[in-house]
Amino acid sequence: MARGAAADKSFDVSTATSWVRGRGVYVAFVVLVIFNLIVTPNFASVVTLSTLLITVSPIILVSLGVALAIGTEGIDLSVGSVMALASAFLPLYLGYGWPVAVLVVLLVGALAGLVNGSLVAFVGVQPIIATLALLVGGRGLAQIFAGGQSLPITDPTVLWLGQGRLFGIPAPVILAAAAVLVVGFLVNRTTFGRYVVAVGGNRSASFLSGHPVRRTLLAVYVISALLAALAGIVATARLGASDPSNIGLLIELSAITAVVVGGTPLSGGRVKIMGTVMGALLIQLITNTFIANDLPFTWAQVLTAAIILVAVYLQKGRGTA
């Protein structure tokens, strides 16, 4: 795209390039939608749209938390395992009613976030390693609690969270949209959001300015884990059964991809919520395009990899991590 603009002499090249840099993910998404409208049969239908939105919902939920962590110059690799923990705990407490079960799951999520956050904020362990430990250990713990088996979910309220609709809009989509609004508000309109960006931009400077650096980091990892737990509930409800060995597997990769493609630099100091949402939509749409056209799915992975590299290459002028 940048090259097309460069070929047109009447265009201001640098303005066009920086415009594409900032909005590359939107451009790529629009291009892919147009491609699908032409090539994929029945693409412009409600079913296609709602499938896309439902499948992308857990990824969006998780990506929002990862975007916050990356904004503080950190990362959260444990989100997939927190989803597995949520999935394992959900059926265990449904006997006490759905509010108790959901509350317990969110508490487990918050606890996982506290562990990550404490290691990062107070012990000074690097985020990649602190959350790597929970990525490795968390899924094992989830399988131990689930006794290595998949339990069915029968509670109608919980099932609604994954399969229900409100005014025709699927419940997972509503939850994801609500999370986007809340996190977007937190990042763009609150002091907490300012602190996140400040800590990511320059941790020492932020500390010397009297910002509550440690509390901010702790809060970021707790929010990330809470969102992951919510994503775990949605994914489990959609499946109708707990599945700690598969739910959320490798989702951290999709989430990091969505965040980075969406324009949040790995070096921190900037969080792009809408970019992250578009990034998640883009990678899910790539997958769906390959499936809908019966193309070998493996090449979708190669294409996603290429898109990550191009997106990051275009951003690199803004500092490297």
Binding site: A130, I144, I308
Partner: protein
């Protein structure tokens, strides 16, 4: 590295015994823990110290060990290589595909092709100044896709009668071939890191890349070589693993990059770069394999317990490291 403290209880200018203890623990902790774990296991399990079991432990860690040698170089230089698990799968698939054509090629092509991909990673990181985490994350995704596409999404069998199988299953003087290969790799890696100017430059880059550049050290070339080596070793590990299993599995090596990073970090190499050792990484790999071996010996614990123990172990090690390095810098 360790700075002198203003501890009132000591005469200035000398390291206190505590500082020395902490520094030694941080650097050599993995080896100390390894000796301790071996001693306890030998007492607790009758058949732990048998030649067969020890060989099993080392063989289990051999393929990961090859990857860990390359990863140690990359991490000391301040980078990271997430693509190694996928490269291992690609190496195995390439080996399985080339055995029917001309079997010696199956030993050459995987390290060559995977080394070339590593070279590409290195170029993007050193020349295009992209973050190692992201470049190799894209590698993790894309290379896995390539391996699956090449293999037609299913494992490819290797004829057990082929001389190629010997490189995974054969023995020299009773020692399995992959073990000999990985020991050679560790020996060469250790020598290069500790005794050559290339090794010095790796430490310099990890310590402070900008200073290394201003000193006129060949920063870009050194980084590119490190990622190329990491890729080539992962490809070789894939080929040897395929020879051992008589199949190239495009789904093999899943999450091995995490095991490799754990082994390196457990071995006392700092993820921030600039400090670490190959011998520590060897101890790290052996510790991870012993952990798995012990869990198998106990028998009642499932594979879940192993994940849990590995994760917990990693936490303990990094918390201890964070504490010890903080002590040094006070």
């Amino acid at each position: 590295m360790a700075t002198r403290t203003a501890d009132p209880h000591t005469t200035g200018g000398k390291f206190t015994w505590r500082e020395r203890l902490f520094t030694t623990l941080q650097k050599r902790g993995a080896i100390a823990v390894l000796i301790l774990v071996v001693a306890v296991s030998a007492l607790a399990f009758d058949n732990f110290l048998t030649a067969q079991n020890l060989q099993n432990i080392v063989l289990q860690g051999a393929f990961l060990g090859l990857i860990v040698v390359g990863m140690t170089f990359v991490i000391i230089s301040g980078g990271i290589d997430l693509s190694v698990g996928s490269l291992l799968a690609l190496g195995g698939v390439l080996a399985a595909l080339t055995v029917p054509v001309f079997w010696p090629l199956a030993l050459i092509l995987p390290p060559l092709f995977c080394g070339l991909i590593g070279f590409g990673n290195g170029l993007l990181i050193a020349k295009a100044k992209m973050a190692p985490f992201i470049v190799t994350l894209a590698g993790l995704l894309g290379i896995r896709g390539l391996a699956l596409a090449f293999a037609g999404e299913r494992p490819i069998g290797i004829d057990g009668g082929s001389p190629f199988a010997w490189f995974g299953q054969g023995q020299i003087f009773g020692v399995a071939v992959p073990i000999i290969v990985v020991l050679v790799a560790f020996a060469v890696g250790g020598l290069v890191l500790a005794r050559t100017s290339y090794g010095r430059v790796i430490f310099a880059i990890g310590g402070n890349e900008e200073s290394a550049r201003l000193m006129g050290l060949p920063v870009d070339r050194t980084k590119i070589i490190a990622y190329t080596t990491s890729g080539a070793l992962a490809g070789l590990a894939g080929a040897l693993l395929a020879a051992r299993l008589s199949a190239g599995d495009p789904n093999g090596g899943l999450a091995w990059e995490l095991d490799a990073i754990s082994a390196v970090v457990v071995g006392g190499t700092l993820l921030t770069g600039g400090a670490g050792s190959i011998s520590g990484s060897l101890a790290g790999v052996l510790l991870l394999s012993i952990l798995q071996n012990l869990i198998n010996q106990v028998g009642t614990l499932g594979s879940y317990a192993q994940q849990l123990v590995s994760g917990f172990f990693l936490i303990v090690v990094v918390v201890a490291q964070a504490y010890l390095t903080r002590r040094q810098r006070v």
